[in-house]
Amino acid sequence: MRRFLLLLRNEFALFRTAIPAHAVAALQPAVLYLLMTTILVHPTFDMNMARPETVLGAELAAALEQVGSPVGEPYVRLAMVDWDGGTVDRQVIRVEALDGGSLARPVAVQHFGLIDSNLVKNFRNRLTTAALRLWDAELGPRSVTVEQHPWLPHDVPYNVYFGMAVLPMATFLAAAIIGAMLTAQEFEFRTVVEYRLAPATLGLILGGRLVRLALTALLSAGVVWLAVGLVTGVWPRDPWLVVLILLPVAVVAGCVGMTAALLLRRTIPAFLVGLVGAFAGWIVGGAFGLPSSFGATFERVSRLTPFAHAIELLFPRYFGDRSSASAVTIGSPVISALVLLLMAAGMVALTAMVYQRRVRRQE
């Protein structure tokens, strides 16, 4: 045990040989999260409406006010503006006379400025739903009632989901790039000869490095955890369970980085494999939404990555358990946990085999 602790201490001392990689690992995911939160998640868009001059216009405005998300913060907010028909900022609705006639048959006209199609869709949905409400009021018993049953009793704020999804990415990124750098450097500095001749066992050598990488990766995830908590005020339930979920991700990533370095034997290519692997796997594995929300094919591919399983296991820690059936499903937690463990064990076996061939084998 003393030898292992000594080896672990030495592994941490090697921090000084790869300071830039450690800086990237510690800060980059948290910075990415903060930027994405600011740019993509934070804005609540104003849905402009020209101040109505008729009763029908006022009724439309009132109906628009009532339409929105069944739970959570509004994404689009109605705003009354004085509009003279000039340049349109995003969108403005004005109740106008049809073909320049009288306002006895008014028409709600949406004028659009330069916005993306998603926002056009959201603005248009809001308007048509409000119009439906007005129409329903006159249909009496033939009116159509639309009920909304949210999956969760509360909103899933995107900045919380995204932050949660960044946790396994931060874990993977740190373990993969640092593992790649430390291992490739051994070849470049020729210190690998020390390992080639060492009477210490392969298990001890690999174990020391993997434990060090896992601890570093968890620290990196801790920075993101802190950032998400401070920004959103949402902290996960059962923090130790979160650590246990991220641990196999760290082991898989450490093995990916080390294996890349053992095969490539050069720092920059191995570093890039870790970097690209972390981001590509993360995007495929549910960075922007649970894998099942993107279709069966995407979900199948997602589940080949550790990210999909980790994110699905983390989801209840942040958003609570499922309360009702939903189109968006989460895989079985037991299977996800098992898959993560198998992935970690498989990668450790693969790394040990490659290490034996590339470092310890007699040539």
């Binding site: 030898r3 000594l6 030495n10 001392a13 210190t191 001749l197 210490a200 007699q362």
Partner: protein, 311 residues
């Protein structure tokens, strides 16, 4: 050899069509500094790698401390220290951290390692700089650190590949002194070098290797004495065109031209014939210099291979 620690018998190693080590044989006694001398590419490093078990051999036998490094690599590696050609230390770590790293991988018993690290760093005159990053060390200091590292787990044999490659003259002597001092502690050294001065000054015995084959094996003194001749180097203006004719009957055994105006003659007894040589060169030729020397290991190599160590 009664107390041999290393036995190599007809060891052979090929890399594709190249025979890097060709039926090489030698033995090394306990407490001996044994040299592998030869030009670059002669097979010295390959031989060392056969001793460590890093390389498999294609033929012959190798025994290190009674174990076959190929089949019992673990047992051999526990008892040898290896200093490679490249100074392979962690440059951003300090000397202490480098040694602790080695201790975790190599030392059988970790009790007392801290005292041993201090003792070795003091011995190598590195104690005062123990907390400085190795990147700030001179070439000689790095080499001494690598030697300290190789000694840390108290090996019986140290395989030292090019001990003073790239270090200055002063540092060379310090490293040689350390090797000699460790020999007094009954450590066995196998030193590979292409530096004849190093082999001459350091080694108790050596094997001269060329193209993977042993061409001579003995103490440096005996190897030179076996040549049985002195070296006379003449510089004249103009140069001597036909030295064999000019010096007929003086016992000249070999002639070569190290430079355009230089003549190198191997003779049995230089002192008895140099006067006659000068007389035969006559008044029409200016004698710039006459240099008489005992043969060097380079001369031994030249004698056996027809070319110099540095060629």
């Amino acid at each position: 050899m009664a107390d041999s620690t290393i036995r190599v018998a007809a060891a052979t190693r090929r890399f594709g069509g190249l025979v890097a080590v060709d039926e090489l044989s030698f033995e090394v006694g306990r407490g001996e500094i044994f040299g592998l001398l030869g030009p670059n590419g002669a097979g010295k490093t390959t031989t060392i790698n056969l001793l460590t078990g890093l390389l498999r051999r294609d033929g012959g036998e190798v025994s290190v401390l009674g174990h076959d490094p190929q089949r019992e690599a673990h047992e051999v590696r526990r008892r040898i220290g290896y200093v490679p050609q490249e100074t392979n230390v962690y440059l951003d770590l300090n000397a202490m951290d480098n040694l602790w790293h080695h201790a975790a991988l190599y030392c059988r018993d970790l009790h007392g390692v801290d005292a041993r690290i201090e003792s070795l760093l003091r011995l190598m005159s590195l104690w005062e700089r123990r907390k400085d990053p190795v990147r700030t060390f001179s070439g000689g200091m790095k080499r001494r650190l690598v030697l300290a590292r190789a000694l840390l787990h108290d090996p019986e044999i140290i395989l030292f590949d090019e001990p003073t490659l790239g270090v200055d003259v002063q540092a060379r002597h310090v490293i040689w002194d350390h090797i000699r001092a460790r020999r007094e502690e009954d450590k066995t050294f196998v030193v590979s070098t292409n530096d004849m001065a190093e082999a001459d000054a350091l080694c108790d015995r050596l094997v001269i290797i060329d193209r993977g084959r042993a061409i001579a094996l003995d103490t440096p003194e005996q190897l030179k004495a076996n040549l049985g001749r002195d070296i006379v180097t003449l510089r004249t203006t103009p140069a001597i065109d036909e030295p064999e004719l000019l010096f007929t009957g003086l016992g000249v055994q070999a002639v070569s031209r190290p430079g355009p105006d230089q003549l190198r003659l191997e003779v049995r007894n230089a002192a008895s014939i140099v006067g006659e040589m000068v007389a035969r060169m006559g008044s029409g030729r200016r004698i710039e210099s006459v240099h008489i020397a005992r043969p060097t290991l380079d001369d031994v190599f030249l004698h056996h291979t027809g070319r110099g160590l540095r060629e």
